[in-house]
Amino acid sequence: MKTLLNAVVLMGTVAVLSGSVLAQWTVPPTPNVPKTATGEPDLNGPVPRTADGKPDLSGIWVRGGGAGGGRGQGQRGANAAPAAPGQGQRGANVAPAASGQGQRGANAAPAAPGQGQRGANAAPAAPGQGQRGANAAPADGISVATFGNVGSGFPGGVPLQPWATELINKRKADNSKDNPDAHCLPMGFMQFHNHPEPNKIIQTPNTIVILYEANEGVRQIHLDGRQLPGPDAEPWWYGYSVGKWEGDTLVVETRGFRDGGWLDVQGTPLTDAAKVTEKFRRINYGNLEIEITIDDPKAYTKPWTVKVTQRIMLNADLIEFICEERDATHYVGAEGPK
């Protein structure tokens, strides 16, 4: 009896402790981070490589970053004053200290997380190339796509076919209420690249898997030499992707999209005729650039190219994101999927 009692007490104790541990799940430090002379993470450090000498794209990435160390190309311009707690996603290349996975106790006022790496990446290049003020022409002439409008860097917008112009105008007039993401449906292909929630690249010799925190998105990029499927392939939300290395650039071709896609929140279209090319370049330890060319003659009068910059998040991992609010009742006049 006493043994049973002890067992019950032990189980109860374990249960309580487990809850505590789960509530404060600490993510271990990212290994093998290059360091500066002062011991800070050197985000301008060398690109990690795999055993076969390819650039290793693996890591936790979030929008922002780019050449120049990433400062100033994030969602806000360089030197944005850390006004309030909650700077973790902006400008920080390191997950907010004691944040990330909920280590911080309830109600604790976050003390300007994201400060840790400021200064480690001096030389903020071209402020305003990120999610805010994205219209500034970058040095390479390729405009930066934003989450809300992938074509914000084009003087007259992306080269839409007339019907596509009407469509995007209607989507905007509807306040984007039919954006699939708003109904817990898969997020648009390029929305993932620009989402403020991070993604995780897992690279193996034959496959690259990208896990997107937002909406629990998943993409597979096959590097095993398989061919793209033919035109009869069943259309997929994210199409079929194959990649190959051209020097240090991973070139990914994707075909077989579903029709009616949304590239951004305002509803820039993607059709089932689209051929998408993405060029992934890890330009240094802390920064990743993805150049995206949309060749979709059904929706556009000519192909167009934009880029997205992402920066590494250290000491961080993805957080579960199960979309529950499927009826999107918080829309004015919106109706959820039937």
Partner: protein, 136 residues
């Protein structure tokens, strides 16, 4: 006059300088009017820690009529809130909080929070789902 259930102010055009941008998967303008800012104080009655937007509810006593009104407060995505120090237990039921944010366009008792301040004065960032100009 301090009254923790007091509807403090509805200040149109008040420009709050706020926190880091979170994200909306839709146009913020679809539902909220940034020019209609309000501050509400009252006890938390319920917290829904759900994606894509967490939300909580509070009871607010109307200063003029004394009537208690139930308000819904929209936040950003839980994962983003966690990275800002929130979790699902950050707002204990019954605790009084003060919320500032944008009111719903349709006049319903719905607000998109920009800041949330606890009764002990600690300010907890809300993570408005509409605080990203990319959405505008």
């Amino acid at each position: 006059m301090k009254n923790r259930y007091l509807l403090v102010a509805i200040a149109a055009g008040c420009c709050l300088v706020l926190a880091a941008p979170l994200i909306a998967h839709h146009s913020f303008a679809a539902q909220y009017d940034r020019s209609k800012q309000a501050t509400l104080t009252g006890p938390v009655t319920k917290v829904d820690w759900i994606n894509p937007h967490a939300r909580f509810f509070l009871d607010v006593k109307d200063a003029a009529t004394g009537k208690v009104v139930h308000w819904e407060v929209e936040l950003g995505a839980p994962a983003m809130l966690m990275r800002r120090g929130w979790n699902s237990k950050s707002l204990p039921i019954g605790n009084s909080v003060t919320v500032s944010g944008s009111l719903a366009k349709d006049g319903s008792n719905l607000i998109n929070a920009s800041t949330v301040t606890l009764s002990d004065g600690k300010r907890v960032f809300a993570g408005s789902s509409g605080d990203d100009p990319a959405q505008q």
